[in-house]
């Protein structure tokens, strides 16, 4: 099988050519030559890209991935490192679950104002105490459709106070 060129790799892997060049520059992948101007890659590139994608999805940074995927194609997966990352993910998951439950509760809470909901107020307190902050490391943000904004609820009561 002939070595695929960058166009072919991009097409088959779904990874944009610009990203492939970027990855090469970063040392995550290596091209094996040129055909005209076009880079040629070893057919193993596809597996390597899948590995990179998998590692990214697991929260590894490109730098970490480069180190794991040493020069050669075969990953030098350090089990302790994998476990540590799993642990890290676990904490992120816990945090997100708490947030998800909070949101669900808030969406369903019968209290006239969220500020009067004890559950919500408990979360607020936690947030105020910094308990919900994500430990510095990767962030898995979520984003989605923005529903039409409501006109602010009747500005009846004054600002809530506390303390």
């Amino acid at each position: 099988m002939k070595d695929p060129d960058i166009v072919e790799v991009a097409r088959q892997s779904g990874v944009p050519a610009s990203t492939l060049r970027f990855y090469e520059e970063k040392g995550l992948v290596a091209s094996v030559g040129r055909r005209g101007l076009k880079r040629l890659f070893d057919p193993g590139i596809f597996e390597r890209l899948a590995l990179i994608s998998l590692a990214r999805a697991s929260g590894f940074s490109l730098d970490e991935i480069r180190d794991m995927l040493a020069a050669d194609g075969r990953p030098s997966f350090d089990r302790a490192l994998l476990t540590a990352k799993a642990e890290e993910l676990d904490q992120t998951i816990e945090r997100l679950i708490a947030m998800r439950e909070g949101l669900r509760h808030a969406a369903a809470c019968p209290a006239p104002s969220l500020m009067e909901c004890p559950t919500f107020r408990r979360m607020l307190r936690l947030a105020g105490a910094g308990a919900l902050e994500q430990p510095p490391k990767q962030t898995f943000k979520a984003e989605q459709v923005i529903a039409p904004a409501l006109p602010a609820a009747a500005p009846s009561a004054g600002s809530a106070r506390r303390r």
Copy 2:
């Protein structure tokens, strides 16, 4: 002299003064005056900051938060929006759980090389097919909405997503 100045707010809330200024510039909080050069805030600032922190932890962007926390202190929480965000978090959680399990398995897998582990190879295939990617943030533009549509896992094939 009841209103706390920026130093006091930073101290009590743990939010750096630079962040408070940044938030004010972004319209997330408002100062109510000055004492000398120092900004003064309404005591309600603490609750507001907690609200911001909570929303951030739930995955809302500062812009979204600003819109929810309209001018006055009271959040105009749109239940549909909260539900949507919870749903979004739920998907992120699912994805992270899959990754965590994959990592744990990889760390414990008895196969001589990870590449020979069927479970690992299955994940690799998913990654190669783009099934593990972070869903792209979608704003209000409709149009290219048809894209991902990835059913559970049909290694059936074509690939050309993205862009």
